[in-house]
């Protein structure tokens, strides 16, 4: 398993967003684009998130394959759009998934502290790590309950369906968000005392490789756009 420092992961996420999602550098950045498309999947595999990686890989493959369908079809425009969306978004989402699932909350706060980010920004971001999986759990519970209640799809009820799903999700999320903050506050979160962080973070060989990769990509894009 490759162990990266949370700061490296954030840099990778940023690079991913710039090179693949943002498409900066256009066609001249093509070689790096390929590297950054594959990288999140390698990282996910190294973190043993095989299922996520395979699903994402299939989606990305679908997007890439769609580009090879000969033009001239009536629906080729739509196909091209879908393929563009998939190839751009899937790698970044995979990278985000990797960062969220492989970083512990205390590692994240330690890293932010080393970068001298204030607690006012760190704490809400740290809460996200916990909040998203919680909301996901809630959502699937609600979905199951709806199936049980046999709430009917279609017809005049499409809008109501959305409402039925959103209302309990919002109330549950708000309630859980409130309970989470209350519990954290009774345990001293937000104290002006300097926090300890019981975790080892720091840069190792793998981090340096990733840094060099990002620097090379950036250098390449700048150099190609100047010349």
């Amino acid at each position: 398993m490759i162990k990266l420092d949370p700061r490296t992961k954030l840099l990778l996420l940023l690079a991913e967003a710039i090179v693949v999602l943002g498409g900066l550098g256009g066609s001249s950045a093509e070689p790096f684009k390929t590297v950054f498309m594959v990288l999140p999947f390698l990282l996910l595999f190294s973190a043993k998130k095989v299922r996520t990686a395979v699903i994402g890989g299939l989606l990305l493959g679908l997007g890439l394959a769609a580009e090879f369908i000969p033009a001239g079809h009536s629906c080729s425009i739509i196909l091209l759009m879908c393929s563009g969306i998939l190839t751009r978004f899937v790698p970044s989402i995979m990278m985000g998934n990797y960062v969220m699932s492989s970083t512990k909350v205390s590692e994240f706060t330690a890293a932010m502290e080393r970068m001298h980010v204030t607690q006012k920004i760190t704490i809400p971001m740290a809460v996200m790590f916990r909040f998203f999986p919680t909301v996901k759990e809630e959502c699937s519970a609600i979905g199951e309950a709806m199936k049980m209640r046999d709430i009917r799809f279609g017809g005049s009820k499409v809008l109501q369906m959305a409402e039925y799903r959103l209302v309990p999700m919002m109330t549950c999320s708000v309630k859980i968000g409130e309970e989470l903050s209350a519990a954290a506050l009774t345990r001293g979160l937000g104290s002006p005392v300097k926090r300890t962080n019981v975790c080892r973070i720091g840069f190792h060989a793998a981090d340096i490789v990733m840094f060099l990769l990002c620097a090379a990509a950036l250098g390449w894009i700048i150099w190609r756009s100047v010349t």
């Binding site: 909350v105 916990r130 519990a183």
Partner: protein
């Protein structure tokens, strides 16, 4: 010493309704105090007054003073109070800050800025005393309710606060996990910590507490000493609207009926589940955490999907009320949306007054009743319930039992997964044990 001095409080959301009224209370160091009373009497609010969430997080009108070791909680900042007390909350899903167990145990100490070696040695000590080595370095999302609650207790323990507060910590636990919680509380008591627990499941704390308070309508109605508690009987407690102090393990209860008519369930691939359910009876399904009780209910639903005979009410009612009024909720459950029929069902379950209320504005017990009304409205004849009385007080538990009996008289079959031996005694006619 922990003191409430003539404390009155009303929440900003409901200013006209006083929630705590002129409460005076002194808890000497090392005492284990049990706070009890029906839902909505103000137990949680007392706990919040002591940990500072009232008035710092839940705002409202406060008079009087709350003191821990002579320091005023309302005047202190929350992070100062944090070092003096530790709280275990009711909902195991919503009291963790981190995602991994080890980080969670360190969290309170990290906030106090203790040195790293100290934190690590405290974690080691707690892990050993609580015997939770197998729970370390795990994802909290992949844990059972009982395990989560153990981690919650352990993370309070590492911070070593002199005052420990518990707010219905057993509400979502089965019998075995509740008994483990009891052992943890005994450990704290032996160390001389002051413990204040709000709870309406009394059986696992009654014999180890030093004193018990009955709270009614925001005031102390009774203050029982150890001697008073020893001479207390279940009958007397029932008059006060309190739960039994006897610990009956639901797994040991014997019940049986004739089983003349049965519903057959297909065998499960992995578990060996019972294949016959007695019809027109109220059957309790009991077993330890992890015995597959919920899996059994799901399996029943799935295997009888096409026949549309089964309706299941899940444990967390918040997830299954979708609409903006109680009436609408029943309407969408009816096979044909007939308002007259919906009102009739509400009337028969004593819910007609709430017809126009938003389901989310109801209390836990009322929501539970609405969920039961939806089950009744569905027109299906086999109704499954997963832990319908966890977190309900005596009165609401009896109400639920009454509803079940009513549904049975209408010819329905009820299957209820529960660890509430009082509910079983109050209404069940048969029992199924899962190993």
């Amino acid at each position: 010493m922990t003191e409430l001095k003539d404390v009155s409080f009303s929440y900003a959301a409901a200013p006209e309704k006083g929630c705590i009224k002129h409460m005076d209370l002194t808890v000497p160091d090392g005492q284990f105090l049990l706070l009890t009373g029906g839902s909505g009497c103000g137990k949680s609010t007392v706990i919040r007054l002591l940990n500072g969430l009232v008035p710092h997080f839940f705002e409202g009108e406060l008079s009087g003073d709350v003191l821990i070791d002579g320091r005023s909680v309302p005047k202190m900042e929350l992070y100062e109070t944090a070092a003096m007390q530790g709280t275990v909350f009711q909902n195991p899903r919503a009291q963790f800050f981190t995602v991994d167990t080890t980080g969670e145990l360190a969290f309170g100490c990290e906030n106090q800025g203790l040195p790293e070696e100290e934190i690590l040695s405290r974690i080691d000590r707690t892990v050993e005393r609580f015997r939770i080595a197998d729970l370390m370095d795990r994802n909290i999302f992949a844990m059972s309710g009982g395990e989560k609650q153990k981690i919650a207790c352990a993370s309070v323990d590492t911070a070593q606060p002199p005052l420990i507060l518990l707010d219905e910590p057993s509400a979502n636990l089965d019998y075995a996990s509740t008994m483990q919680l009891r052992e943890i509380i005994k450990l704290w008591k032996a160390e001389g910590r002051t413990i204040i627990a709000a709870e309406h499941r009394l059986f696992y704390l009654w014999d180890i507490a030093d004193r018990a308070l009955l709270i009614r309508d925001g005031s102390i109605a009774e203050d029982w000493s150890r001697a008073d508690m020893d001479s207390m009987t279940n009958e007397k407690l029932a008059e006060y609207g309190l739960r039994s102090i006897h610990d009956t393990d639901p797994v040991t209860i014997e019940l049986s009926c004739s089983r003349s008519e049965v519903f057959s369930v297909k065998p499960h691939k992995k578990f060996t589940f019972p294949t016959e359910i007695p019809l027109h009876e109220i059957t309790a399904v009991v077993g330890r955490n992890g015995a597959g009780k919920t899996t059994f209910l799901r399996h029943m639903c799935r295997s009888a999907k096409r026949s549309r005979r089964i309706f299941m009410v899940m444990q967390d009612v918040d997830h299954q009320l979708f609409t903006d009024s109680v009436l609408e909720e029943v309407l969408i459950s009816l096979p044909d949306e007939d308002e007259e029929k919906a009102r009739e069902i509400l009337r028969s379950l004593d819910l007609e007054d709430y017809a126009d209320r938003h389901p989310m504005s109801l209390s836990g017990g009322q929501k539970q009743r609405v969920a039961i009304a939806c089950a009744a409205a569905s027109g299906r004849d086999i109704l499954l319930f997963d832990e319908p009385t966890s977190g309900l007080d005596y009165e609401h538990m009896q109400q639920t039992a009454q509803l079940f009996r009513q549904l049975r008289e209408q010819g329905r079959t009820i299957l209820v997964v529960t660890h509430d031996s009082e509910l079983i005694e109050a209404c069940c006619t048969d029992i199924i044990r899962l190993e």
